[in-house]
Amino acid sequence: MAHLYELTAIELARMLRKKETSSVQITESLLNRIDSVEPNIRAYVDVTRETALEMASEADRRLASGDVRPLTGIPILIKNNMCFRGHRTTCGSRILANFVPPYDATVVTRIKEEGMVILGTANMDEFAMGSSTETSYWGPTRNPWNLDTTPGGSSGGSAAAVAACIATVSLGSDTGGSIRLPASFCGVVGMKPTYGSVSRYGLVAYASSLDQIGPFARDTADLALLLNLICGHDPKDSTSVPRPHPDFTTYLDKPVAGMTLGVPTEFFSKLENPDVSKACAEARSIFERLGVKFTELSLPHLDYGIAAYYIIAPSEASSNLARYDGVKYGHRAEKFDSMIDMYCQTRAEGFGAEVKRRIMLGTYALSSGYYDAYYLKAAKVRTLITNDFKTAFRTCDAIFCPTAPSPPFRIGEKIDDPIQMYLTDVFTIPVNMAGLPGISVPAGLSGDRLPVGFQLVAPHFEEARLVQLAAAFQKETDHHLQRPSL
């Protein structure tokens, strides 16, 4: 019989309702698995064991009293940039290494109201700046499929934990691909919802106009369930959109025959990796077997996506991260001889190299005399990219493309070459620039037995369509059932 830690949220929820197990038993199963596997993977910043067991006991009380919601008693892991009251929320940075928030992020409040069990906090690239989870102050997370490779980033901990069955489901955040890339690298399903559909309140900001929280799961059914929980208007977030969302689980069994997927020629012409090409071709043939039509289309401004992203995101970051100054909370340098020196020493010690690089980029781009040439130009490119997608969606229901240009790369391979690292996000960044929903779905393993994923992108607020397509695909394949041997 399968271990509790291996089961999906839906399977566990069914058992809980039938009283075949308890939330405490499930949680203990995961905590034991964490004890044996986590030291090799390092997906967690903190395992909040005691809190988890308390939450599990509380969930069991609710289950006994009949006060049950779909995910009551199910364990979850949250990325360490979502404020979790009473637990340090470090963003993978030394500067927040001791920061304990006095409030909960809206997604954390929703998780608590649902009666889920928070197992701990997931490792991440520092302030979500990175594509490999190597820039974390707490050290890199390793890919469960091959411990010498990265899990992708920045939500590497969240993805690796779900793949390694040390979390049932998890939450990540995605600013330029930070959910979809690690989902692809770790062989799990991960979605970045439409900008504005999940509250950002309590998500420590990297680039506010691009950041979006989203779910990781081992299959689309679990993902749909978690999406139901986190989507919805929040008056505390002015960019949150007041519009109802459908029950995503009702899209799990809908046929996809007659739908059209758009294939952007610009994406595939960039593709050099044979493993990714092969996986995408196989996925395409499966969709075709299901009655899905494919049409070629063009997204002409895609080439400028990365360039524009690396103006806008660092600009916002330079302002968002200004508050970490040693005055109020977080790290403060011990030695300084003036207020300005205190700021400088604190920030010099507290931030890592990649964060400093982006703060400098953004500060420069916003400077008087450069604003028009950089920030304003980038904002215009963003509009052009958005319009490209709008035009594309006139001829298709969703866009089909690779999630990443390659299978997982080795730890250390790109960390000293920022441009190569940035190019990892070439297929995901444009989706954030346009604020669209995107999902990464496991598409099989490479020759080296490393996961490869494909990406589907839908029009604004059409997450349900992504669920529908991904679920149909997973009914025909067993890629999502593959597990790394640990």
Binding site: N81, M82, C83, T89, C91, L96, F99, P101, P102, Y103, A105, R200, Y201, G202, L203, V204, A205, A207, S208, S209, P235, K236, D237, S238, T239, S315, E316, S318, S319, A322, R323, Y324, D325, V327, K328, Y329, M339, I340, Y343, T363, L366, S367, S368, Y371, Y375
Partner: protein, 481 residues
């Protein structure tokens, strides 16, 4: 050489909302340090701002009163700079698209009405306060004020003298207070002003190099600082020197300005649109609703008082300086319909008494009903105008009704002819020499006799009756002679 002065003013007004601009903390003044705070105004990681709609409404009201064009879409922007009283190290403000632009206000100056252009009106959040320890090298920060909504009103560089600047500030101040969107307290910093000032040879159209003046916390100081700075600049230019662009601080003790930072040291604020706040839409329906509920503004009220009550323009200007004073006037007139007499009393006795108190007309111990009653007592001859002043002082000190005071102090006016004739005859008998001189043609002595009669009655004699009897008695003496 003859120089012309160019002044532009930036006024910051704290808005009288109950809660802060982007969170629900109270804006109450004077609480324990850091007690009116929450994760949002403390700038904790992960928090997000949500606009207080009331602050927007207040700003739109001001924009309407200043004849501005209101932008259907405006934007919040981040003004980035590091300072410990600014927890996020950026201030949410507005830059490229303010709430309103292109307005004007009419300002009364000794040379007549001047129309001063308003460049823009925008919203922003206030910063906290630093408190520096005098003994130790330590500073404390109080973030109660952090996030309190501010409105900035920027004038065109059209002000031509310190007097005009003060008049413009008084006009803005009175509009803000009339609209009840700012308490206008300059000492507590609810109403603050920075000035940009330069001089240029008269006839020149290009602007001279400007200095920005800060730290002027009263109308008088604004005027003094500007005058000092203008004189300084003219002196520098006259001596063949050049003005450098800089920020200068006014020292109210010495009455001088000194350099705070040069242009090179000026901040680059790196403004950009705040991604946490959506573009701000001001719907025409909101503007219409606010327009329909606008109170009468100072200039409108002044015109109406002149027309409706026939009082002089000067009186109307003084009375409408504050909404409360004008309301006090109108209420008194409604009870005692002699507008000029009411106006005189308010402008002299009442204003003189109020001067000593900071509380103003709102806390005046004499209410309109009591003042009207007092004027009624003069009008029906119960007391003289002179006694009334004594009664008023007592009313102001005790808050008692005039009738009670008159009763208690026995101040009822004596109008009884018999009684007064006896007093006057005695006065004339006691001053036979003066009577002789009077009869000899020195008619000026009439005043002396009235004075003596008033003195003999401790001021209670009805002056009109005294005058009448005196004239009769003196005529009798003349005829008897």
């Amino acid at each position: 050489m003859d120089y012309e002065t160019v002044i532009g003013l930036e006024v910051h007004a704290q808005l009288l909302t109950d809660s802060k601009a982007f969170c629900s903390c109270t804006t109450r003044f004077g609480a324990e340090p850091n007690s009116n705070t929450c994760p949002i105004c403390l700038g904790m990681p992960g928090v997000l701002p949500v606009l207080n709609r009331k602050a927007l409404e207040f700003t739109v009201r001001m924009a309407i009163a200043c004849n501005c064009e209101i932008n259907e879409v405006s934007r919040f922007a981040r003004k980035n700079y590091y300072y410990p009283d600014l927890p996020k190290n950026y201030q949410i403000s507005q830059y490229e698209l303010p709430v309103a632009e292109h307005g004007w206000v009419d300002v009364e100056t000794p040379e007549g009405v001047r129309r001063i252009g308003i460049t823009r009106i925008h919203m922003e959040e206030d910063a906290g306060k630093l408190i520096h320890d005098e003994q130790k090298p330590v500073s404390y920060v109080d973030l109660n004020r952090t996030g309190v909504p501010l409105m900035e009103v920027v004038s065109e560089p059209e002000i031509r003298s310190p007097e005009e600047a003060a008049a413009y500030l008084r006009a803005l101040h009175s509009i803000l207070v009339y609209l009840r969107i700012c308490d206008g307290n300059m000492q507590e910093g609810s109403f603050r002003c920075d000035a940009n000032v330069s001089v240029r040879p008269r006839g020149e159209t290009a602007f001279g190099v400007k200095a920005e003046l800060k730290n002027m916390n009263s109308f008088r100081n604004v005027q003094k600082a500007l005058q000092y700075e203008i004189d300084r600049q003219i002196e520098v230019l006259t001596d063949g020197g050049r003005i450098v662009q800089e920020t200068r601080l006014f020292d109210p003790v010495s009455g001088t300005t000194s350099s705070m930072r040069s242009k090179e040291q000026a901040h680059d604020y790196r403004y950009f649109p705040d991604p946490d706040l959506l573009p701000l839409h001001v719907e025409p329906a909101l503007i219409d609703r606010l327009k329909a509920t606008m109170p009468e503004l100072p200039s409108e009220k002044k015109e109406r008082l002149i027309k409706q009550f026939g009082i002089p323009g000067y009186d109307a200007a003084v009375l409408t300086a504050s909404r409360e004073l004008a309301e006090y006037f109108e209420e008194t007139v409604s009870l005692f319909p002699n507008p000029k007499l009411v106006s005189n009393w308010i402008m002299t006795e009442l204003m003189r008494s109020l001067k000593g108190e900071e509380t103003g007309i709102a806390c005046c111990p004499v209410n309109p009903k009591q003042l009207a009653a007092l004027l009624q007592l003069i009008d029906n001859g119960t007391i003289s105008g002179k006694i009334a002043k004594t009664v008023f002082e007592e009313m102001y000190a005790t808050g008692k009704d005039p009738a009670v005071i008159i009763e208690e102090k026995g101040l009822v006016q004596v109008s009884d002819k018999e009684e007064l004739a006896a007093v006057i005859r005695r006065v004339l008998d006691e001053n036979a020499g003066e009577v002789a001189k009077f009869l000899g043609g020195k008619t000026k002595l009439m005043g002396f006799f009235v004075g003596q009669a008033m003195k003999a009655t401790k001021g209670k004699a009805n002056p009109a009756v005294v005058n009448q009897i005196l004239a009769e008695e003196l005529r009798k003496k003349a005829e008897g002679k």
